[in-house]
Symmetry: C2
Subunit: 394 residues, 2 copies
Amino acid sequence: MTARPANTHQARLLRLLRDSGPNSRAQLGDQVDLSRSKLAVEVDRLLETGLVVADGLAASRGGRRSHNIRLAPALRFLGVDIGATSIDVAVTNAELEVLGHLNHPMDVREGPVAVFEQALALAAKLRATGLADGGFDGAGIGVPGPVRFPEGVPVAPPIMPGWDGFPVREALSQELGCPVMVDNDVNLMAMGEQHAGVARSVGDFLCVKIGTGIGCGIVVGGEVYRGTTGSAGDIGHIQVEPDGRPCACGNKGCLEAHFSGAALARDAEAAARAGQSTELAARLDAAGTLTAADVAAAAAAGDATALELIREGGNRVGQVIAGLVSFFNPGLVVIGGGVTGLGHNLLASVRTQVYRQSLPLATGNLPIVLGELGPAAGVIGAARLISDHVFSPA
Amino acid sequence: MTARPANTHQARLLRLLRDSGPNSRAQLGDQVDLSRSKLAVEVDRLLETGLVVADGLAASRGGRRSHNIRLAPALRFLGVDIGATSIDVAVTNAELEVLGHLNHPMDVREGPVAVFEQALALAAKLRATGLADGGFDGAGIGVPGPVRFPEGVPVAPPIMPGWDGFPVREALSQELGCPVMVDNDVNLMAMGEQHAGVARSVGDFLCVKIGTGIGCGIVVGGEVYRGTTGSAGDIGHIQVEPDGRPCACGNKGCLEAHFSGAALARDAEAAARAGQSTELAARLDAAGTLTAADVAAAAAAGDATALELIREGGNRVGQVIAGLVSFFNPGLVVIGGGVTGLGHNLLASVRTQVYRQSLPLATGNLPIVLGELGPAAGVIGAARLISDHVFSPA
């Protein structure tokens, strides 16, 4: 059982060391509002828990040289990001640097038992390389649907039959013998990009994940905002067209029904069958099915139909993001997820919609950018989630 | 010059007394995390500033009877709520109870100098009744457009020509000789309903104000969320119909162009002229023009055209609110502003849209209700805004 900090001062020191790496006592003192003697007491107590270790002398600042402090090098977090069609598993150190990362294709609809069997097998494989000989000090889990956050239980997840009410947190905590936290995959992506990606130092931002479905992570004042029942950011079912396409949720004209990885693949297959694109038709012939990645490849090869599908999709999601920008006035919009392979074509059409539709005061200084971390965003976010828990008073 | 609390403990005590009225020292001690001796020190210091006064003995709780403490009864806040077509001015005590309230019709387009001349005249009239013989201890001002909050300056307000960059805070602070804070009128309405209305005890909620235009106050964790540049909640220009009606902002199909007090009046006049409603035509003949209030009155009289206009408008705004509910997952949606005279007909059609379009997880426990305070919401919110400032460390 990993020790936990005894108070909020210690928690704050642990998070500082996580986010900015080894620090001298003097540097820590500059950053927390503690007297020198109180700081010394708290650091000494943290050293006793084994969560932090001394790490040599710091560079001189003129007076007596100060000792460097760092998080224990043996601490290990497990980050698991369950997507609709694949699992990402990574091991990080306490500074959330990824030490090992595995990806495995798997359909989330196989259900929680099969999916976690696979996730645990991947974790065991990483451990077998000697990455986490002391076991894990905590694990963060992301799932592609809404989660009742305090309990770590998926709730009525539309694309995850068999998962409703499954006690992910409890089951995995027992299996792994360490604390576990569970969140929506989109929130984890936002936390990952905030910790190590494009959203560092931004307080209020949106992170739109376009994968099989579409969701949005909302960060307010540096913290993920989850809403009253944990479903905040569920933008895939915002209506973009009255009487539009039927959606799996039972409504018509939802964003996801018109644009998402799944919708894009369907549209591409339809275009290929209708003879609108020889490029897509050739890929369909070869593979028997098409994915968003095929559309990206066809677009890269200059295929006009693929480019048009991406442009239309960008317009749809841009239309929704424009509304959210007017409403939320974020400092940054990050676009990520599987279909970011569509890259700058998608981004260009999202930007056009947002800059055209939202008022200048909201868009004046608004960067709209692709995520930086790719599939690592989710697992780093998962490690961040559990580290926030482990680095808070018990 | 009113004294200010010296530290965050004192600030917290002042706000407690504001929000829950006179308290015994013992009750205060239960609510703040301070030792008995530290609490005594802070209360004594507050008594010295004159911000609080002793108020007799509290009921016995078994031991020695504790003294009641309350905010100084002579403290006075001025709340000013500038709307597009009228000014509300009120005087409150330190518990934000309205002691006097005046309303005066005035077009905000007459510009800041004329508007504030009128507002100050109304404030003087209230003072003349003996409500604030000691002057004001602070004033909160609401304006119907985006505000650069820290400076208290309107920014590029679409319906307020002549106001862009006008130093409202500085000018009024000089004029009144007290601290002044300025905010968007919609944020003040949200704060008013939170302090004394329907949103008491709700942490995360939306307050949609439908007046001449449409805006939305966003409260996260009990605090107004203003966004990166202060324009959060600016939902009037979310597109509800591609290639819809031209809007004053230069775009097409904005919510405000399709439904708002102004749009409703225009539609009613058109319907009256087209012979679709004898009720509206009679009112147009009598007054030469129609307002949202005429539509409300016609609907109350059973006029089918007026009812249909309200239903359509409710659908439009409901469509936008449905998207915001999916995105923000609030615990409550409050509808207020001038057109709430349209009342339950409007509410019914908003509810239908939201409950139909948003996912069950977001709407399961979501009350959608009319504001309770009417025009008092804005002035109470304004008093709350300035009291938050006065009751915080200098």
